[in-house]
């Protein structure tokens, strides 16, 4: 049974409503005028207003003013209000701002507002995904991320490759949505409720309340993982990524590598750790997540080594990082299933931190590509970056920082992300540990570390080309100042996180509080010491 929908629900949805209204406004206004700068400026102002609204919605949790209280989440209508959602909303706003900057001049002139309006719909969809406790709204949120993406892919650039990319993404996206919806349907069939938090109770009385349909829960689990795995570009649902990234524009590739990934991870966390809270399901879940993590990391990295197209390479990079995110998910599920108990930070906190680090660095790199590409052409081959350190030292430096962060070089954000992921996969409480499980996670960490080494192979290749290869035909950056600001801002944020990881760990820890076995500040302490 849903909790009451009241005016408070509307108030809680205000940032999302704001984004939707801004998007609609952009569409309609764009039909009257094509003045791109003005429209973008208003949208940017809208994002800042959204940030203000977020601070206003904060008091009950005190997440950002340091007065956090341990409390049960609030339910209002289909919404769940907790620190997790709140943190993600901040992430979405920041990511949205960076994307808006890097898309400042993207798309054809007469469709520019449609382009940015769709971006805002995606942001609204992301926010909804993070805050829903109900299957229908969750699905709607995910579709609100997907459908505008199709539009953006299409209007990004008028050329055959872009159309092929759009078509591929569209059809495979539909397929994955279908899988997801099928999973949701089975889940509803098995539990008889749309509310995620009510499902465990039903699942617990296996066979009695839900009847034989309850046996469909594992199938639902598989379908949900498959559908969300597509969004996160996990192997074997990753096939679209390289083709689509290569075909579309750099700005769109940046969007694709961040927005669906956030949506997928968040939805996965919401469903798995609320809906499927039953030991045997969670056990199946962590085993699948572990297998996906192993395959995804490895395949993404080894394939990236072979690429010469920058966007295709970054596509495989995005795939491999999805694998890292799955490490955190697997740990969280294993801990939740009760097979092992963690002596350290939980996987969700680690995955969340990693997501932040990944999103910022990746956006920085794609913003650089946007900056270096022109209105009529894209930056394709790696060699086009040659001599960038001479012609554009600032942008080369910021891109290098982002690349090194993705590699996991200390003291950048990516290093702390990987460190915490590996920590959480290794530091199980030895007293309650299931040896086999622990060994599997040991293997996971070893493979993860090896993959980090492999990834250096292609990230540093880019750095090498920028710094040590003499410029051939020089790239004329015509992307404008927006992408440049986005690139440099991303690099600065990456450094900032790397410099004071404790501050961010504190927040991700608190965001993941409901699933935190022990709200451990261990790694934050390590981090602050190291700093």
């Amino acid at each position: 049974m849903n909790p009451q929908v009241d005016w408070n629900t509307v108030w809680l949805l205000l940032p999302e409503l704001l984004l939707v209204l801004l998007a609609v406004w952009a569409y309609v206004a764009g039909a009257f005028s094509h003045y791109r700068n003005g429209s973008n400026a208003i949208l940017l102002a809208g994002l800042i207003l959204g940030g203000y609204l977020l601070t206003q919605q904060n008091p009950s949790h005190g997440l950002w003013d340091g007065t956090a209280v341990q409390g049960n989440p609030i339910f209002s209508g289909p919404l769940i209000v907790d620190p997790f959602g709140h943190t993600i909303r901040w992430l979405v706003l920041v990511v949205g701002g960076l994307m808006l900057l890097s898309m400042w001049r993207a798309g054809p002139e007469d469709l520019s507002t449609e382009y940015t309006g769709s971006l805002f719909l995606i942001l609204a969809g992301l926010m909804i995904v993070t805050r829903t406790d109900e299957l229908v709204l969750l699905f709607l949120g995910l579709e609100l991320v997907s459908i505008p993406t199709y539009i953006m892919l299409f209007i990004g650039r008028q050329r055959t490759a872009a159309h092929e990319a759009t078509t591929k993404y569209f059809y495979l996206g539909i397929l994955s949505s279908g899988l997801l919806l099928y999973g949701f349907a089975l889940l509803y069939g098995a539990t008889g409720t749309m509310q995620l938090r009510e499902m465990p109770d039903v699942l617990a009385i296996s066979g009695a309340g839900g009847g034989t349909l309850i046996r469909l829960a594992p199938a639902a689990l598989v379908l949900v993982i498959a559908g969300l795995g597509f969004k996160m570009a996990a192997v074997p649902f990753h096939f679209y990524a390289p083709d689509v990234y290569e075909g579309t524009t750099a700005a769109n590739a940046g969007l694709l590598s961040v927005a669906p990934k956030i949506a997928g991870l968040i939805a996965l966390v919401r469903i798995m750790l609320a809906g499927f809270m039953k030991p045997d399901l969670l056990e199946l879940g962590w085993q699948m997540a572990l297998a996906l993590a192993l395959m995804t990391m490895t395949l993404g990295n080894v394939m990236a080594l072979l690429q010469n197209n920058v966007r295709r390479m970054m596509a495989y990079s995005a795939i491999s990082h999805a694998g890292y995110l799955f490490i955190g998910v697997a740990v969280a599920l294993a801990v939740a299933s009760g097979e092992v108990s963690s002596a350290n930070v939980g996987g969700i906190s680690a995955a969340l931190f990693y997501l932040v680090a990944y999103a910022l660095a990746t956006l920085g790199i794609f913003a650089t590509f946007v900056y270096l590409a022109g209105a009529d052409r894209e930056l394709d081959h790696i060699d086009e970056l040659a001599g960038l350190s001479k012609s554009r030292p600032m942008i080369a430096l910021s891109m290098t920082i982002c690349l090194l962060s993705l590699t996991g070089v200390p003291p950048l954000a990516g290093f702390w992300g990987k460190l915490e992921l590996f920590f959480c996969a290794l530091c199980f409480d030895p007293k309650t540990v299931d040896i086999a499980t622990r060994n599997w996670f040991g293997v996971l960490v070893i493979v993860g570390a090896m993959n980090a080494a492999i990834s250096a192979g292609y990230y540093l290749r880019l750095v090498g080309v920028m710094y040590f290869r003499p410029a051939g035909k020089s790239v004329q950056p015509t992307g404008g100042s927006g992408p440049m600001i986005a690139a440099i801002a991303s690099a600065v944020l990456v450094i900032a996180i790397g410099m004071m990881p404790a501050w961010f760990f504190e927040r991700t820890n608190r965001a993941a509080e409901p699933w935190q076995p022990i709200v451990a500040t261990t790694i934050s302490n390590h981090a602050s010491e190291a700093r």
Partner: protein, 764 residues
């Protein structure tokens, strides 16, 4: 910082100024200063030099105010470099060493305070030795820098040269004012680096680059020994501070050593100089002798041999003459090469331990010194390159210094340091004179190609003459006093009752012979350069004239120094504030005046502890008196002085007989069978280089090529193979990415089915 005393402020400022000047030159030189790059360095050195002299004055006053003590020092603690608590496990390591190999003289430790921290503080110290070295280094460096302004004015890399010079002066001043072995080692390496950079300054020249590499590599051998010595010292003593920096009552007593364990690394908490009291402590207490003690000394000596170019590591110094001449004068004659002498003098207490039943380390030091002096003297006889003659002369003179240090008496050690001091003046003078000649001759330095330059270059001629006379040891020039003091000290030991008396007797004879050779080769070079028919090589071109005043003025100043410093500081009747007094106030040397100090005459001393003590008391009292009242030049050594003077005059005369005119006598003499062989050996430099080539370099090259092949084929192959694995795996999966939408969908569905299958297998 505000509560620092004047001495402490000066002590910090002296190295700081060259450092700042170096940074300014390095930053601004290449683009803005260019030809004016000398300005910051010369300016910094002027101030540094003035401050050094002021420091010497201040120290003198402080010594006089501390009548009661036997030594004086002040330290200034800048910051802590490294600190590891409980790093030293004294109980285990000490016991082992004490029981098995070495002879732990006193069991100082009980278990409770057997562990100590590893604490390295960046601490500077001022004492007699340091202040003398600082004054000498900054003064000579200043004069040479001024000279170099003229010498280097046409060189493109002018800024680079002055940057290196500044860096060198900084490193050298830090080296002599460091207060622990780690800092000493750091700056020991830093001056080595500067030497390397400056030898290879004209790196386009193959010989220069090769000489730089050779100097660096030969020095590595010595530094390796030095590093090992440091490890030994740490293992044995649990501290790397110089053993006399501690603010504790006894000089080297038991209390001191145990307090060293606790307060180690916090020298001079009051920051004020403090007298050394408690004279009745047993000096030897706490020092480890036996095999370990000997090993430490020998390894330290190996390091000193490398830096100071002593046999058998002397081979790098002649080649180092490929560097610019001011560098040869500054680094390879006056300052850096004396670092080894300084270090051994600084470590006197370590060298004074009783290493029975093994060798006495001081005998080794003296033997190496005497041998180097003689060998280098013989080689210098036949070299035709003016700078190389001077280089071998430097080796020879450094050998004298080590001989003096090896005597182990206070008079001897101070004589060695005094020779270091005077040598800096006349040898840098000679080098600068040679540089002046070389400058005028368009870079030619082979004495056979020029001659009779005394009319062309009168200033250079006269100043060179002063330096040559001083080097030969003619009264009353600088070299006479210092060399005579060394000969006297060696003579004393040789005629004493020490166990090594006969050895020292032979060494004394060798030293006399070397004195003769010194005069001979010095004036051979002098006559060949400045007398005979005027002969100017073609390379000289229009350069062939007297150097500019900016080069000759430093020559004149140094010539005055070569004339006077011996007279001023080496006179009988010099008071406590003279050279001997200041040097003797150094704590590590003042130890020798202490009644417990073990002189070299071990045979007499081994009888019994009580007897030893009384004998030593008597002896040291006498020695202290003699040093304080009579200075270095004692009446009883008039005989030595006369012999050496006669030998020097004889050498000059024979040189004149042989080399003035057309030198047909020389051609006749080297036809004599014995002389022919001797000439061959001398001309071939005792064949050190080919022997080292066969014994060291060739095996090294062979090993290197084996390692290279191993690395190239096996390791690289392995690494590359492993590196290919990931991309190989990638290639395997490449075909899956075929670009077909239907295939992708199929793969996705297959994935779902696989997962479903595993779920089914898992749940049912």
């Amino acid at each position: 910082m505000s509560d620092w005393t004047t001495i402490q402020k000066l002590l910090v400022a002296i190295p700081a100024l060259p450092l700042v000047a170096t940074m300014v030159t390095a930053l601004l030189g290449p683009r803005y200063l260019r030809g004016k790059s000398h300005l910051p360095i010369v300016f910094g050195l002027v101030i540094s030099c003035v401050l050094s002299l002021e420091l010497l004055r201040q120290l003198n006053r402080a010594i006089e105010n501390h009548e009661t003590g036997i030594g004086y020092e002040t330290t200034v603690d800048l910051w802590t470099w490294a600190s590891v608590p409980e790093a030293y496990d004294g109980s285990g390591s000490r016991k082992t060493i004490g029981d098995s190999t070495g002879r732990l003289i006193t069991d100082v430790h009980d278990a409770s305070d057997s562990s100590g921290p590893f604490h390295i503080a960046v601490t500077l110290r001022a004492d007699g030795l340091t202040c003398i070295m600082l004054a000498m280094v900054t003064l000579v460096a200043l004069l040479i820098a001024i000279y170099a302004v003229g010498y280097m004015h046409q060189d493109r890399g002018c800024w680079r040269f002055f940057t290196y010079i500044g860096l060198f002066v900084f490193s050298m001043t830090m080296l002599v004012s460091a207060s622990n072995f780690v800092l000493l080692y750091v700056f020991w390496e830093a001056v080595g680096l500067c030497s390397y950079l400056l030898i290879g300054f004209w790196y386009e020249k193959r010989e220069a680059a090769a000489a730089g590499t050779k100097a660096f590599l030969v020095n590595r051998v010595g530094d390796f020994g030095f590093a090992l010595a440091l490890f030994f010292i740490w293992t044995v003593y649990g501290t790397l501070n110089f053993h006399d920096t501690q603010n504790a009552p006894g000089v080297l007593g038991q209390e001191r050593l145990s307090s060293m364990q606790q307060e180690f690394g916090r020298p001079g908490e009051s920051g004020e100089g403090h007298p050394r009291g408690a004279q009745d402590q047993d000096v030897r207490t706490g020092y480890v002798g036996g095999g370990i003690g000997l090993a430490i000394c020998l390894l330290l000596m190996l390091g000193a041999c490398g830096k100071s170019a002593q046999f058998p590591l002397h081979v790098w110094l002649p080649d180092a003459m490929e560097g610019p001449t001011p560098v040869s004068a500054l680094i390879h004659a006056a300052t850096m090469v004396t670092a080894g002498v300084y270090m051994v003098a600084r470590c006197t207490p370590l060298f004074a331990v009783d290493c029975a039943p093994y060798l006495d380390p001081r005998a080794v030091v003296a033997t190496i010194g005497g041998l180097s002096a003689l060998i280098a003297g013989i080689i210098a006889m036949t070299q035709n390159d003016l700078k190389r003659v001077l280089a071998y002369s430097t080796i020879s003179q450094l050998g004298y210094m080590f001989l003096a240090l090896g005597t182990g008496s206070l008079v001897g050690i101070i004589a060695g340091m005094f020779h270091l001091f005077t040598h800096a003046f006349f040898k840098s003078l000679l080098f600068l004179g040679a540089g002046s000649v070389m400058h005028a001759m368009g870079g030619v330095i082979d004495m056979r190609k020029f001659g009779g330059l005394r009319r062309l270059m009168p200033m250079t001629f006269w100043t060179f003459l002063a330096g040559a006379l001083a080097l030969s040891g003619i009264w009353p020039l600088a070299g006479f006093f210092s060399k005579d003091a060394i000969l006297a000290a060696a003579y004393d030991v040789g005629h004493g009752e020490a166990a090594y008396a006969s050895l020292f007797l032979w060494l004394t004879y060798a030293a006399f012979l070397t004195a003769f050779l010194t005069a001979l080769y010095t004036f051979r070079a002098f006559y060949m350069t400045f007398f005979g028919a005027e002969e100017i090589p073609a390379e000289a071109g229009h350069h062939a004239r007297e150097s500019r005043p900016i080069m000759t003025v430093p020559l004149v100043i140094l010539a005055l120094g070569a004339l006077a410093v011996g007279w001023i500081f080496g006179q009988p009747g010099a008071t406590k504030s003279g050279f001997a007094g200041v040097a003797a106030s150094t704590p590590s040397l003042a130890v020798m005046v202490h009644p417990g100090y073990r002189a070299l005459d071990t045979a007499a001393e081994r009888k019994s502890a009580a007897e030893r003590k009384s004998a030593a008391e008597k002896k040291s009292a006498a020695e202290k008196g003699s040093v304080a009242e009579k200075g270095l030049h004692q009446d009883s050594h008039r005989r030595v002085a006369i012999i050496s003077l006669v030998l020097a005059v004889l050498g000059i005369g024979i040189a004149g007989f042989l080399y003035l005119g057309d030198a047909r006598e020389v051609r006749a003499i080297i036809q004599w069978p014995v002389m022919k062989q001797l000439h061959r050996i001398s001309y071939g430099k005792f064949f050190f280089d080919p022997v080292y080539w066969i014994l060291v370099v060739l095996p090294g090259l062979a090993l290197a090529s084996i390692c290279y092949a191993f690395d190239r084929w096996l390791i690289d192959g392995l690494v590359n193979t492993i590196g290919r694995i990931p991309s190989g795996i990638g290639r395997l999966f490449r075909n899956m990415q075929c670009g077909m939408l239907q295939t992708y969908a199929l793969w996705m569905l297959l994935g779902v089915l696989t997962l479903l299958g595993s779920a089914v297998w898992h749940m049912w």
